[in-house]
Symmetry: C2
Subunit: 250 residues, 2 copies
């Protein structure tokens, strides 16, 4: 992909529950699709355990390698929620009660209900900027180029909109999907030719199986609609020659 | 987790379609749960693009860091399937037609149907060992401690059984889940005490929302059933004191 103004990101999924296989990661998909829409491309995802040293090292490494880093998970009230403290250590920032976060949470809970566990959710780098949480009160936060979001998918999703004006994206990444009733091996050679002729378009080929029938989805991605269209025409040409059926899938 | 005989692994998901958010990764969960059952713990997952240099570097790094590495994706017939060639380069192994793989595929297809695209699936490090594929013919393979599996979840799943006798695991990782009708913040302090008293058990706390009701799943993991049971009793103690309801979820 030769996006000249590429703005990129990585996602760090913090959570033993994903590593153990108990929980399937849905957050990467949500974050990536949202980032694509504002012109930021996700280049790497890591899933790591709730271990401070690993969180610290991973955040330091990836924050210097990519324009943005997004972490998910580990900002709740329990002992295994150590993201905020780890981020503070990674950047050598003072960790403690964040005034604005404390005040938001204090107002969110009924009088007398703002207990020690809940107060922990106001602890973070004290000068962090907040990511407001329209679903359940407890905010996320960001420092430098690292944005810390919760692990619960519905809550995470509800918080992304608040960041649209904070992030600076590049050209939006456009895509076009062509679904064919064929096998990958039938089109592999023609597709290689098209890819060779269209270096600026990333062409992905993905077999699918729906309603008892096999097929292949071709996904064309680029920041340039004209290049996608050109690539699309060349694909449709060999599709026609080979008498392959185009299909609609959900 | 202080598993004294820890045997660990990492998973590398190779595929632009996961990074772009188009496809949700289901393979990590499948591979992790199967590995847990044979006493191997997954310590890191990386999702990386279909770019040779990144695949080569990631495989070299993780294969020296963990006992086993599993890759998923990129072993099909199309131009974006570059895992086998990248693995050959990572370990400086000759890449070409694998005799046994070629023969399996030749027999799998009808006469005249074993075309160039399909033949590509027989190309890999020529001395690799094969991972047989009961679903769709094309085998995976392994060299050194790196095991290469396909990206299609159902096919990947069908191939794992063939590896049970190849991998050497440690003590199986046991787990116990306790589901409570409560909020994390209500139990955070008590849970920290239990974790402090049971350092050899990894306790995870995960909020859930089912049928309109909130709750918390506590997951206890260890290689030692006695330690899990002890930890479980201590949790049930504070659960009783706080008058919290135990619930069943799927």
């Amino acid at each position: 992909m030769t996006n000249k103004k590429e703005i990129n990101a990585s996602v760090i999924i913090i959570g033993n529950e994903v590593l153990s296989g108990r929980t399937k990661d849905l957050n990467t998909s949500t974050v990536s699709m949202w980032l694509n829409s504002i012109g930021i491309i996700v280049r790497e995802v890591r899933v790591i355990p709730d271990i401070e040293k690993i969180i610290v090292d991973t955040v330091i490494e990836l924050s210097s390698k990519f324009n943005y880093v997004f972490t998910t998970g580990g900002i709740g009230p329990t002992h295994d929620d150590i993201t905020a403290e780890s981020i503070s250590k990674a950047f050598n920032l003072e960790y403690g009660f964040h005034k604005e976060a404390f005040s938001i949470l204090e107002k969110y809970y009924e009088p007398g209900q703002f207990n020690e566990g809940r107060q922990k959710m106001a602890k973070m780098p004290i000068n962090a900027k907040l990511i407001l949480n329209p679903s359940s009160g407890a905010p996320g936060f960001y420092v430098k180029n690292v944005f810390c979001l919760p692990g619960v998918p519905s809550i995470l999703k509800s918080m992304l909109g608040g960041l649209n004006n904070v992030l600076v994206g590049g050209d939006p990444i456009l895509s076009k999907t062509i679904n064919l009733r064929t096998y990958e091996s039938e089109i592999a050679k023609s597709l290689t030719n098209v890819q060779d002729n269209n270096k600026d378009v990333e062409i992905g080929s993905y077999p699918f199986f729906r309603q008892g029938k096999l097929g292949v989805s071709l996904v064309l991605r680029s920041v340039d609609q004209i290049k996608i269209d050109k690539c699309n025409s060349q694909i449709l040409e060999f599709v026609k020659e080979k008498n392959i059926k185009l299909v609609e899938i959900d």
